[in-house]
């Protein structure tokens, strides 16, 4: 009896360990890329019954880690892979596939926007994140402490923003008051506050969460509009990227091709980003 139990447990374990993930494509990573991929996955699965695409959030850092440790087929990232990350996974040859373009936009609570703060210079942003400016009053806004929202260290949005604003993608922001993760979470904090400044992907702006224009040194204002992202006028832009280990094959390839197709690119545009074909 006991032998049977042990045997069957063993068999089960072996089964559990050897079963192939045939038609399943796992994706994880950036919450900026997530809406595109998750919608695309739904459509793809409808078109190809029997295939399964599992999508998980977590941030660009998680995406790189899981592709690096070959735990998922596709990673979603909204920044470049760092040297350090590449060196951490010598057995993985990261291959990138751009699927769209996005801007990282400094955003404020609608109260601040309506009080007249609609544009900031990169230098002002840097001072706020360094903690040198801590009240909206100093920027001719209302007399309110700025609630500076930072993001978790490995998040793509943060890397891109800090690279341009503070000069180093992993710079510490000593002026920060809150550290949050997903775009969703940050959007919520911005709406709940009346004096917040945060950084969000262009796809997540709405009436309660207003994107600021960037005031260039020559005095021109550049809005975070799709047009300014396309022609690269907006100073903080980035590619939305899928990464794989080596050249994708099978269902993974089919899925990436689907996102790059006209239909897939429509999803990219619908989510507030710029398609890659343009």
């Amino acid at each position: 009896m006991r032998k049977i139990i042990i045997l069957s447990t063993l068999v089960l374990t072996v089964l559990a360990c050897t079963e192939q993930k045939n038609d399943i494509v796992s994706v994880s990573g950036s919450t900026t890329v997530l809406p595109v991929v998750s919608t695309a996955a739904d459509m793809f699965m409808k078109q190809n019954p029997g295939s399964k695409i599992i999508v998980n959030a977590g941030g660009s850092g998680v995406g790189v880690n899981q592709v690096g440790s070959q735990r998922v087929e596709i990673g979603m990232i909204s920044r470049d892979i760092t040297e350090k990350e590449i060196s951490q996974y010598p057995n993985t040859s990261f291959k990138t596939h751009s699927i769209g373009r996005d801007a990282v936009v400094p955003v404020v609570s609608s109260e601040i926007y309506n009080a007249g703060i609609t544009a900031l210079t990169l230098d002002q942003l840097a001072k706020i994140y360094r903690g040198e400016i801590s009240n909206w009053k100093e920027l001719n806004g209302p007399d309110k402490e700025i609630l500076v929202i930072d993001k978790e260290a490995a998040r793509g949005t943060r890397h891109v923003f800090m690279e341009i604003v503070l000069g180093d993608k992993e710079a510490q922001a000593s002026g920060a008051d809150l550290v949050l993760g997903a775009n969703n979470e940050e959007q919520t904090a911005l709406v709940q506050s009346d004096a917040a400044l945060g950084i969000l992907s262009n796809g997540w702006l709405n009436d309660d969460v207003k994107g600021l224009s960037i005031k260039m040194p020559d005095g021109t204002l550049i809005e975070p509009s799709l047009e300014n992202i396309v022609n690269n006028n907006f100073p903080i832009t980035r590619d939305l990227v899928l990464i794989t280990n080596g050249t994708p094959t099978g269902k993974t390839k089919e899925f990436i091709d689907f996102i790059l197709s006209a239909k897939g690119q429509e999803i990219v545009v619908k989510n507030g980003y710029v398609g890659i074909s343009k």
Binding site: A16, V27, S38, A41, D42, S69, G181, T188, Q192
Partner: protein, 281 residues
Amino acid sequence: MSRKVKNSLFKSSVYLASFLSISILLFLIITLISKGINAVSWQFLTSESSNFGSQGGIIYQIIGSLLLTLSAAIISFPLALGMAIYKSEYIKRNLFQNITNTLIYSLNGIPSIIFGIFGLIFFVNILNMGISWFVGGIILAIMILPTITLSSYQSIISIPISYRENAASLGLTKWQVIHTIVLPRAISGGFTGLLIGLARAIGETAPIMFIATAFSGVTFPNSFLEPVSSLPTHILALAQQATNPQALQNAWGASLVLIILVFIFSISALIRRIHYSKVNY
């Protein structure tokens, strides 16, 4: 201060504190039910979630949660039973009893997030099992092991000595005694413990969020090594978008369903406990 004043001060603080506690508890219940009931409908319970969970229902989250708890129960019940019997029937030395007790209590005290990290290191990375519901089931099983063991053990040691004496006088062997007298009690007590354990396991987020669950695209798993979605991790994703009214509404709905599942387990445990405490020997 006179004794009388002190006494009435004390009394009023007792009433004030109780009033506070009761209003907090009422607030929780009323909020959860009233917010949840608006979201729950037959369609909500039976359709897939879409658009980050802010639309659609929670069918695969319910299935995932049940799958996780079911596998936890299957893995942990026999282990706990064996340990309870070994502890009560075979370990005679006090030192050994103390060692096993300490180990069980430590296992019981481990914070849930630590189980998650352990699962991530050991099962996901070292054994390379990937992110899967099976790993989640194992981790939850380990987590509820002490509850079942202790409950089963308590039930065994409450067997009156006279039963064993009678059995011994009939010339039964040790295993016959265990089989006829100890085992039924162990199973019964263990089952109560299992229900308590499952009530805890089904609501846990931290142990499974790194190792067992995925965000979207999950349907019924075809193998041991696929992730599932679960109610607690779904609520976590929705709570982060709490200013999106649709997402929030679905979060309340999922919470109500989760709490009902928790209560089904814990009320059954409570009923069993009250019922069996009335059984006298």
